[in-house]
């Protein structure tokens, strides 16, 4: 049984990354993933538990030039009600609206949702569509160092990311999508709340004169990590968004997905869902741009 011998609650990023540099720290933010995983015995506490919720300046949503930055501590509720995000990246707000339940949205942070690296993580799919990058901070040579890594390269396996133990997830950033960019997110399930995605899918692009370009597609719960659906993107890029191409994209979605059987669905059903939902999302894109 792991025992917590030290509890930290730093108020500055400086203090937090210094503590991480000393090693053996469990980072706590919203706790909505951490606590149940601990209860279920899937993880063990390190000797130090560090609550990062009090760090100043890490819970802000800002737009500087064309770059939007969401601090790690930003809650899903804050994303859901952000006017800035509603203008810049409505697909992210739409995904927040399908995230767990009100209570969990109030506690869960964007940093936690990304670092938990669930293949079904709801906020990850729209961020993949936005070509987001992750900012990691660490204490090196007596100062804070940051590095940026593309979100689609961030995940290694279920629950595993490239983040080092001495690094703190500081923010997720993305550039304002090009004019005319429209994206949709879809997550089926019989319950409108408290539903872990059986599969989730998001597709976006610029639809101009009937031609679909800058196509970005991402899928959740169909592979060990959330993925960019490259075959779907290639199938659609630069072509008219019509019934034939939508059908072709639906086939490509099936090829991009490598789902497994688990307690939530069979691989057969997941495969079926990504195909039909690709159609649904693309139809939504069409309807909303016409």
């Amino acid at each position: 049984m792991s025992e917590i011998t030290n509890y930290l609650s730093p108020c500055s990023l400086d203090d937090a990354v210094r503590a991480l540099a000393d090693g053996d720290v469990t980072v706590l933010c919203g706790g909505t993933d951490l606590m149940p995983q601990m209860e279920a015995g899937q993880r063990e506490y390190a000797s130090t538990l560090m609550n990062i919720r009090r760090i100043e300046g890490l819970a802000e949503i800002t737009l500087t030039g064309d770059t939007c930055r969401i601090g790690a501590l930003t809650t899903v509720s804050e994303i859901l009600t952000s006017q800035l995000l509603d203008e810049v990246a409505p697909v992210l707000v739409a995904a927040a609206d399908q995230f767990a339940s009100d209570q969990l949205r109030n506690a869960a942070s964007i940093g936690g949702n990304i670092c938990n690296a669930s293949p079904a993580g709801d906020m990850i799919i729209p961020l993949l569509l936005l070509n987001a990058v992750v900012e990691l901070a660490s204490w090196q040579d007596g100062a804070i160092q940051t590095r940026l890594i593309s979100l689609h390269e961030f995940f290694k396996a279920p629950g595993k990311t490239v983040r080092q133990n001495n690094e703190l997830f500081a923010a997720v950033l993305f550039d304002k999508p090009p004019p005319g960019f429209v994206a949709h997110f879809c997550k089926p399930g019989p319950r409108p709340a408290l539903e872990i995605a059986t599969v989730s899918i998001g597709i976006g692009g610029v639809l101009e004169d009937g031609v679909f370009s800058d196509v970005r597609a991402a899928m959740g719960a169909v592979a060990p990590t959330p993925i960019r659906a490259r075959r779907v993107e290639t199938t659609l890029e630069g072509l008219p968004l019509n019934a034939d191409n939508i059908r072709a994209a639906s086939v490509s979605a099936g090829e991009d997905a490598t789902p497994i059987d688990d307690v939530r669905a069979s691989s057969w059903y997941r495969d079926h869902l990504v195909r039909v939902l690709t159609k649904e999302v693309l139809n939504d894109v069409l309807e909303n741009t016409n």
Partner: protein
């Protein structure tokens, strides 16, 4: 300050059928209620149970030395400590096991100063198992070469029930249409918000006080005693507020004797409280079954026979679950006028979790079959679906082949009320015509009906309830009843009834019903019986108290008691409503006169019904009632999701007593039924539960609740209080087949198994499409089990 004007006249009003607030509503909604889960007794220890975590095994060795030596541990128990202390419906269970027969089997138990120490101690117990091949379905269990789960039950056979009436061969021969299907219903569990809990405490005279969530305190003593080697009379049961029961607390489960045995061993109170994961794995389930049903009718629509061959998954032990075929039988034989019946039910031991009682008690399973077959027949006859049902619906005064006396029968009214409210026949035709369109979303409407006992169920020698009532010098009434409150609202019903008879505010009635040393006999909360039986007992006691008060008032005022009434805390003249004397003043006068009297009355009410009996031919309930549900759904043919848009219900309730309570019970019943029909599913793989959490075991939550249109048919009942009938279970019973029938209406595809999950729906639709393509008959429909 305003001067209060004192009325001189009080109008006659009634509380019956009114909306009154549940007495515990404010405390429950503000978090003030102290549930059993919150209780801490001085010196209390925490008990934890080591579960086997494997479905079938011999325990080769068990070493508890390290656990016993852990500081803070006060006692450890294993199977050898309880040898011979068998309990359960057929005495096939024991609190701690030496052979493992299901995943949650209790292998050892620890009592310690804290929960953490107790958990740590469990980790120190070393058990060596020899795994055995298991049986994971009743079909496999009855095969000749199946592993034997218990030596004392050859062929893995548990309970068997049969009933036959009339000449089946002849009835088949005269049938023009016969539908023949195999229905399969699955494992679900109650999901009470309060997890299972017991606190046991012995005094130095050897008397056990057990704080329990039980919903049947009297028989509970009888059932718990053999597990402890005690006399039932030495057990006192206290029932603190509970977070739900729904039938799950209608038996003794191993954690309860374990708490008591640990308390005995340590000499201190011991509390055992399940975690949510333990609750999912260890709580009883609704009984899964395979139902082979056949129903026949003539061209003119007259039903000719119904046969049902039922195979039930008993699980590893026999709780009350395996007795559900008795209730299944009543619906098979008694729903609609069916002259010939052949019913056969066999429960088979498996290494799955074991089934207990669950709201609807077998009728949920049977009605999934009967209501779909009635729907199939109506379609094959090409008859108006409501007409077909009406022509086969019994009339008041008819008896079923099992001799259930349908003294009042409002099935026809339930059918027409629900059908009229939804324009059922027209809409069903309309949606049926649209079913082959290209549209992704398809709409459907489906109807289902059933019958249930509504005046208790005499499965014991007695189905009665004892009541004591006192009215004190301040005109406050206290009613002591054997009937338990498990959230179903008997507290409201009884307060309302006493207030009605004594003409006092509902808030001036206190209910005492949570201590078996205090409260008189009752059979328990089950069979939709409590309003009917405890309510009638309360009414009879209150009428006696009222008469005593009116007689005293008559002497005081020199007015005949017949001309007096009790209203609003006053004795009044019945006709004019003019005040004679304030009730509390009269009560004090009665008390302090030369020949003093207190108002203290008792009543024992035994309903007019007959014991079920071995031949199953008896009028086992004092009343029966029907319910009809109409479900309107939208099917997403791409994802397989079924959205329930609206449920219209028409239920014969005799008479509404507590309106808000009845609505709440109906809505809650529908929610449980919807979960069963659509989303709830204990996913078992070789006896091991794969989804022991609310994330993956999906109960219906508030946003999924459809629009509800509830109609209560109030035609009265000769025996229930004010004409009321029991009403709690029917809403859960009729919902799944209504949805299955609506699904057929929407898509032309039959799904014969629960739940109608998105994946199953998609598979069924694809299968049907393939069958359609390969078949020249474009009307081909597919049935999926």
């Amino acid at each position: 300050m305003n001067k209060k004007t004192i009325a001189t006249h009080i109008e006659k009003t009634t509380l019956i059928g009114q909306r009154v607030r549940k007495p515990d509503a404010a405390d429950k909604s503000t978090g003030k209620t102290r549930y059993i889960n919150d209780l801490v007794l001085p010196q209390m220890l925490y008990g934890k149970i080591l579960h086997a975590g494997r479905p079938h095994a011999q325990i080769v060795s068990i070493d508890t030395t390290a656990a016993e030596q852990l500081p803070g541990v006060h006692g450890v128990l294993t199977g050898k400590d309880v040898a011979g202390l068998k309990f359960g419906f057929v005495r096939d269970n024991v609190a701690l096991k030496e052979t493992v027969r299901c995943e949650h089997d209790e292998v050892a138990a620890v009592a310690a100063e804290t929960e953490e120490i107790a958990s740590q101690a469990l980790g120190l117990i070393k058990v060596e198992y020899k795994d055995l091949p298991g049986v994971f379905s009743p079909e496999d269990g009855r095969r000749e070469d199946a592993p034997l789960i218990r030596g004392d039950f050859p062929g893995n056979k548990s309970l068997h029930f049969a009933f036959e009436h009339g000449d089946l061969t002849a009835a088949e021969a005269e049938s023009d249409i016969i539908v023949d299907n195999v229905f399969k219903v699955h494992h679900v569990t109650h999901c009470c918000m309060g997890t299972s809990c017991a606190i046991a405490d012995f005094d130095n005279n050897g008397k056990l006080t057990i704080y329990s969530q039980t919903q049947y305190p009297y028989n509970y003593k009888m059932d718990l005693a053999p597990a402890l080697g005690m006399h039932p009379g030495d057990i006192r049961v206290i029932q603190p507020p509970v977070g739900g029961a729904f039938g799950s607390k209608l038996d003794v489960y191993p954690y309860e004797p374990i708490a008591a045995l640990l308390a005995k061993k340590t000499g201190r109170p011991v509390k055992v409280l399940y975690t949510r994961e333990e609750e999912f794995k260890s709580a009883p389930t609704r009984q899964p079954a395979v139902i082979h049903m056949r129903t026949g009718c003539k061209k003119d629509g007259t039903l000719t026979f119904r046969s049902a061959d039922v195979l039930l998954d008993n699980g590893a032990y026999t709780s009350w679950g395996p007795t559900i075929p008795v209730v299944m039988m009543r619906t098979v034989s008694g729903h609609y006028r069916v002259p010939v019946i052949a019913y056969n039910a066999q429960a088979i031991y498996t290494n799955n979790p074991y089934a207990g009682s669950f709201r609807g008690y077998g009728n949920v399973q049977t009605t999934f079959a009967t209501a779909q077959q009635i729907d199939m027949l109506a379609e094959q006859l090409d008859m108006d679906p409501i007409e077909f049902r009406l022509m086969n619906a019994q009339k008041p005064g008819e008896r079923t082949p099992q001799q259930a006396f349908l003294r009042e029968c409002a099935l026809d009214k339930c059918l027409t009320t629900a059908a009229d409210a939804t324009d059922f026949v027209t809409r069903q035709k309309e949606y049926g015509l649209l079913r082959n369109s290209d549209s992704r979303y398809k709409k459907g409407i489906g109807i289902a009906s059933s019958i249930h006992n509504a005046g208790g169920a005499k499965i014991h020698k007695s189905d009665g309830c004892g009541t004591m009532l006192k009215v004190d010098d301040y005109a406050r009434a206290t009613l002591i009843t054997g009937a338990s409150e498990i959230g179903q609202g008997i507290d409201t019903v009884i307060s309302l009834i006493v207030a009605e008879e004594l003409g006092i505010p509902v808030e001036h009635v206190t209910l005492m019903n949570n201590d078996s040393d205090l409260a008189p006999w009752d059979v328990g909360v089950h069979a939709s019986r409590t309003t009917f039986i405890a309510g009638e007992g309360a009414r009879r006691a209150a009428v006696k108290a009222r008469q005593q008060i009116l007689n005293a008032a008559s002497t005081f005022a020199e007015i005949s008691a017949d001309e007096l009434d009790l209203r609003d805390g006053f004795v009044v003249r019945d006709k004019e409503g003019s005040i004679v004397i304030k009730l509390e003043k009269l009560l004090r006068q009665m008390h302090f006169q030369p020949e003093p009297e207190l108002v203290m009355v008792t009543d024992y009410y035994e309903p007019n019904s007959e014991p079920e009996g071995a031949d199953h031919i008896s009028n086992m309930s004092a009343a029966y009632s029907h319910a009809v549900h109409i479900a309107e759904i939208t099917v997403d043919t791409w994802t397989g999701e079924i959205k329930v848009d609206k449920i219209t219900s028409a239920q014969d309730v005799g008479r509404v007593i507590s309106r808000a309570g009845l609505e709440g019970q109906t809505e809650g019943g529908i929610a449980i039924g919807l979960g069963y029909a659509l989303t709830e599913d204990m996913q078992l793989e070789d006896g091991m539960l794969k989804n022991p959490c609310f994330r993956d075991y999906k109960v219906i939550t508030a946003p999924e609740m459809p629009e509800l249109d509830l109609h209560f048919i109030e035609d009265g009942c000769a025996e229930g209080p004010y004409g009321a009938k029991g009403a709690a279970e029917l809403p859960t019973i009729v919902i799944a087949p209504a949805i299955a029938n609506a699904f057929y209406n929407a898509t032309g595809v039959r799904i014969l198994s629960t739940p109608l999950s998105p994946e199953k729906v998609v598979r069924a639709l694809i299968l049907a499409q393939q069958a359609d393509v390969s078949s020249s008959d474009s009307m081909a429909t597919a049935a999926v089990s």
